[in-house]
């Protein structure tokens, strides 16, 4: 059974019909990527899943539960970590405080500390910056913090919105390595990317979205080889 399933979801965003009957699913343990050009509806899909924009039609099922009408913080509580577009770390909170917020619902202080230690294993750079304000760090460090903050929740699914955006190629490489590693350790990942090449090379399956509709879905390898995909997104 799919961990996350969108069934025929329609979303309107400022009067625009942004998602037109979207259906996607993510199975436990998978890395699934949603690729498409700017404005295709990738971010809207993630926002709709976590309740920041409402689906007007259709159903979103997570872990067997209908979450279509649930509130954002309750959806997050079920184990959906959304690392939003543009990182959105809390700029005036320290790295430590940002991470603590990621584990907001965890009461046990030891568990929070363990989570922070684990995050530092993935991102040793953050350890050096622990008492620095998030907003004073570089873009790459902020992206690491945003992902680390998402991991603090010990999510059942990690949704990453364009983690490679605005980063130097070496950092992009590093971020995708971490995605692979997280997945190897059991985290299910839904990855939204414009960088289709990189995304498809770490994913198991992929969906191609265009003006709010899924136009292609297949194994990542097959999509990588698809001439249509190559021409539109891998040029």
């Amino acid at each position: 059974m799919a961990l996350l399933e969108l069934q025929n979801v329609h979303t309107f965003y400022g009067g625009i019909h942004a998602l037109k009957g979207l259906s996607i699913s993510v199975n436990p343990g998978e890395v699934v990527t949603l690729i498409g050009s700017n404005g295709a509806g990738k971010s809207t899909t993630l926002k709709t899943i976590c309740g920041q924009t409402r689906a007007r039609e259709g159903k979103i099922i997570f872990d067997g539960k209908d979450i279509t009408q649930m509130k954002t913080h309750d959806i997050a509580m079920l184990g959906i970590a959304h690392v939003p577009e543009g990182r959105r770390i809390f700029p005036k909170l320290t790295v430590q405080e940002n991470l603590e917020m990621g584990a907001f619902f965890t009461k046990d202080k030891h568990l929070i500390q363990e989570g922070i230690e684990r995050a530092f294993q993935y991102f040793p750079r953050l350890k050096e910056r622990i008492s620095q304000k998030g907003g004073t760090m570089s873009g790459g460090e902020q992206q690491m913090l945003a992902i680390a903050r998402g991991l603090m929740m010990k999510p059942k699914i990690l949704m990453l919105d364009e983690p490679s955006m605005g980063l130097a190629p070496i950092l992009v490489e590093q971020i995708f390595e971490i995605v692979t590693e997280l997945n190897r350790e059991g985290t299910t990942i839904l990855l939204v990317e414009q960088n289709a090449n990189q995304a498809l090379s770490v994913a198991h399956r992929g969906y191609v979205i265009q003006t709010g509709e899924i136009i292609l879905k297949d194994d990542a390898k097959t999509l990588l080889a698809n001439p249509q995909v190559r021409e539109a997104y891998l040029a």
């Binding site: 976590c50 920041q52 509130k71 954002t72 913080h73 997050a76 509580m77 970590a81 959304h82 939003p84 959105r88 809390f90 700029p91 005036k92 909170l93 405080e97 603590e100 917020m101 990621g102 907001f104 619902f105 903050r149 929740m153």
Partner: protein, 317 residues
Amino acid sequence: MLLSILPQVLVDGLTLGFMYAVVALGYTMVYGILEFINFAHGEIFMVGAFVGTEVLLITDAIGALEGMNPYVALFMTLIITMILTGALGVGIERLAYRPLRGAPRLVPLISAIGVSFLLQDVVRFTEAIARNEFYLNTPVLFSGTVSVFGIATIPIKGLVVIILAIVLMIALTLFIGKTKWGIAMRAVALDPSTASLMTINVDKVIMLTFLIGSSLGGATGVLFAQNYGTIDPYIGFILGMKAFTAAVLGGIGNLRGAMVGGVLLGMLESLAGAYMGPLTNQAFGAEYKDVFAFSILILVLLFKPEGLFGEAVKEKV
């Protein structure tokens, strides 16, 4: 002669300034999170003064106040008042502001002004029915003065105001700085939609903000009543305006700014009240103290519109 009254003037300014500061915190906390000026906050302060006074009057009427340690009496009054005004603030947010969230900015502002009038009149009616008048004299718990280095005398009630205000400010600073919910309040102030992705219930954080701000406002009402002895349902307006001014002076949304702005405004007002007459040969007497204080405010804002501790605001996209 002018210099000899200076210590006294400074002490009076501090007493007044700390009251402004604590009330200013309520304005600035709510603004920090909702970017909304809760104009009813001055009236919460006023309700606090009345609740505190009623607690003491009733305690006195049943004969329990006499013989009670004044510090115990004050502590009891503060706790009861803070609980009630805190609940009042939460209730106002729930009924008068939350339904208007997402409406154009002026709408909740008008609602807040409406709540102000409502609170003034409810207190007035209640007191008029219960006691036949709405100017009340508070049983003053502290008398006597202490001498500071022999150059100034502070009435003990003034000292109580200053010390309690400082205690409340330290408690708030620690709460906001160190506790999980305090950090969550800062996170929500920075970015509510991202905070909700971290399982933070933004509505709860807003409630908490009103709870804390209003209980601080109510506590200040008790201190005000203790310090000045007489209260009426309209004391919230001018004190609220001054506290709001203090918050803007310090940089609205900034806690430290509210504290410093409050004390500064109290000092300016006190200095102006004492010295403007003598220095201008009585052309401008103490009645011009507010003009002076607000002129300073205008000057500060001309050169630093974001306030002393504020940051230049970038328009949100």
